[in-house]
Amino acid sequence: MDNVLIALSNLASIDAVITLLIGTLAGMMIGMLPGLSSTMGVALCIPITFNMPPELALILLGAVYVSSVYGGSITAILLRTPGTDASIATALDGYPLASKGRGSEAIGMATLSSLFGGTVSVIILIAVAPLLSKIALAFGPQEYALLAIFGLVTIIGVVSDNPAKGLVAALAGLALGLVGLDSFTGVPRFTFGHSELFDGVPLLPVLIGLFSVSQAFNLCIPAEAGVLKKDSIVNVHGHLPLISDIKRCFRSMARSSLIGTFIGALPGAGTSIAAFISYNEARRKSKNPENFGKGELEGIAASESANNAVTGGTLIPTLTLGIPGNAVTAVFVGGLTIHGMIPGPDLFTNFADITYTLLISLLIANVLFAVMGIALSKYLVNVTKIPGSILGPIILIFSIVGTYALRNELFDVWLAAAFGLIGYFMERWKYPTAPLVIALILGPILEVNFRRSMQISNWDYSTFFDSYLSLAIISLVVLSVAYPLWKAWQKKR
């Protein structure tokens, strides 16, 4: 309790408040620009923190982290150009709402659910971090391989009316995931001599290409295109979601926050999986599942509360065990060690005051971005009124510059452009693009963990049925395949 009081007094200083404000604003900006990921945002801030006292440094890093995940949802909704993979699921329902002129409502819902998810995960982080990280450590390679399969099955089911097309897209993503140095033997696979591909097909150029560049084409090629559909008017339903809508989505928000926190706590599982699993759950439990993907506020609520819950989730193993779950928290660990704090149990004993300052500042950062987001949404939505022939080229330039900024590699820009064309035609021919991106993320996770478990067990397949955890995930996989099939069969009768 003392530590919490010290933390609160740390946060009451003017320096802390200003740092929080700047961090939150910068994080939102970084999240909105395509190509600038949370990782890059946090990494860019590390040199700035060198000369700061440790508590201020952590406040800045934390604020940038949580608000950049939120910021991605704004452009995902208004322009269908998700800044990071975390917001792909948000764009599925957000963009249709924006083209109906209800972008501001959608941002409002995204803001509230981000706030909710972020807050729940930080509270869980404060309350049960050590316990959760123990469960997360029980995930061995077998469980990870199965979790990746679960993620794949979910995403194929979620996004398409025609699962066969979703599967084709996912297979293309898996095939792309094979490119690069073999992680066991070091043999280059399918790189065709390009050294740029040794680390695999880079994710962000593919993501930016499939979503942002193809969207630029969508807006620019038809002579009179735009985000808004012809007869829709902006903010005709008011600019905030109705209380009844929020009430309706509350269960989804709560469920997704728990899913997000838990998946976040698993090292390496990733934000987008959490968002998609939650989205799928919300759709399955919804009374009108057919509205999902056409502009359903509940879809946004599910995806956004999950992806912001991941932020707290990823910090659980990072702070308690010193195991960063993703690239952002790995950078975070760097930031901690610079200030002499070694992540691990020490943080909650020797450095408890600073750690609690960080945790409470995360809560405040959540509130701050929510306030700013809701205040700005009324104005931001006007972006959708700009004609497509102006927005298109601007989105394309942002995509090019953003992609180049990732590794200063022109190769990536060409890659993004190529995937832009692929994405444009995939969309026209009704192939969903999201499974490709998710499969590209999950493919390597699946392959590495599958081969690892095979090596551990001497090629004995029964290793996948050994633990309760893996049995539980297997039953989830079977359920998520069987349930839609059973429903379709019932419908036919």
Binding site: L33, L36, L44, D161, N162, A164, K165, L167, V168, L171, L174, A175, L178, F217, C220, I221, P222, A223, P387, S389, I390, G392, P393, I394, L396, I397, F398, I400, V401, Y404, A405, N408, L410, V413, W414, A417, L421, R428, K430, E447, F450
Partner: protein, 114 residues
């Protein structure tokens, strides 16, 4: 892994061929592609990306924007120039000054002094 992907791919392609008929018919058909605009814009984009390295981003970006606005958006010359310049300045300040991303300066490198 590659083999299993190939096998699954074959099976799904077969499914797609078999079920071909009903799925597309009732969906709204997207605009037919305006191939002239499409090819023009592809050409512009390819030239822009190619020019970034050699001629420099801060010539390639505004020219690309200007030609896209002018040729595709049918926006007046003055307005096109204005929007492209404002936007390029924005890119310069956020990426180069604020975030310190070294965008290729090309032939402007002496002038931009980085």
């Amino acid at each position: 892994m590659p083999v299993s992907i190939a096998v699954l791919g074959l099976i799904t392609s077969l499914i797609l061929i078999v079920q071909k008929k009903p799925s597309v018919a009732d969906e709204e058909i997207p605009h037919p592609i305006n191939w002239r605009r499409f090819l023009l814009w592809c050409a512009l984009s390819v030239i822009a990306i190619a020019a970034i390295q050699d001629i420099g981003s801060f010539i390639a970006i505004p020219s690309f924007l200007f030609f896209s606005f002018y040729l595709l958006g049918k926006i007046e010359v003055k307005k096109s120039i204005l929007i492209s310049l404002i936007f390029t300045a924005f890119i310069y300040f956020t990426f180069v000054q604020l975030l310190e991303v070294p965008l290729p300066n090309g032939i402007l490198s002496d002038w931009l002094d980085i």
